[in-house]
Amino acid sequence: MSVNEFFHMGGHGFYIWVSYGLALVLMVTAFIPPIFQERKLIKQITRRLRREQREQS
């Protein structure tokens, strides 16, 4: 099977690749923001706790 044949998918290539592509794009886009959000949140809270500790001592 050639690469061209594989992407052609017996004439259904467009429908198949758009389906897989859409799934990939959606699932990646939904996954990324919470990772950065968590990092930001932990940084924020740590900074605040450190400040409070300094103020106490």
């Binding site: 998918m9 004439g11 259904h12 198949i16 389906s19 799934a23 996954f31 990772i35 968590e38 809270i45």
Partner: protein, 249 residues
Amino acid sequence: MLAWLHRLASPKRFHGLAGFFITWCGWGALVLFASGLYYSLFNSPPDYQQGESIRIMYIHVPAAWNSMFIYITMAIASLFVLVWRIKAAAAVARACAPLGAMFTFLALATGSLWGKPMWGAWWVWDARLTSELILLFLYLGFMALQSAIEDKDAAARAAGVLAIVGIINIPIIYYSVEWWNTLHQGATITLSEKPKMNTDMFISLILMSLAFKFYFVVAVLRKARNEMLEREQNSQWVKEMLGGSDERK
């Protein structure tokens, strides 16, 4: 029982459990996606009627299953919110909604992309498609209600009622292909019967479905864990977890 439940679902405990599941289900999802994609794109035969377009099934069916599974998860979490007022459950329910909406949209879109070459139409107003579209609106309604009410606990309870009432739509989606005359084909796999499809097709479908499920577990827990961390940032366990290392200074 109640005290036990609250201890089990305490924010601290939830944070630890979520971390465990995020790690292991994350690796599981990676392995399942790798093998599932290999099977569904390379190692499964074309259908004798539908040709290569059958490969859309390995996205479409797992997405549709997830859309219903996530709804049930959201409704059960909402029940825990309404009956036992468990905060972690509210965070899980809230995290479920956008993911559920996403998989519902994906199921509808890939269904369209499959329907066009097979049925000759992007969309038909039949029972299966319409009830799945209603599911999308239920998710959107849940999200709208959550953001419309300022007090987060009240919002979770109000949206929880919607989620629980809306669960009536799930059996309607599931049985729609049997109850009504429809263009949509019947269930591909049922629990009660041996699969009628080719073994490699069956393996592709199972691998992709599990991959989608694992993805959901990781994604929902990541979001819920963030929300809990934000809400609980003044509690002792968060201070111990994030501030403890700085005591030396």
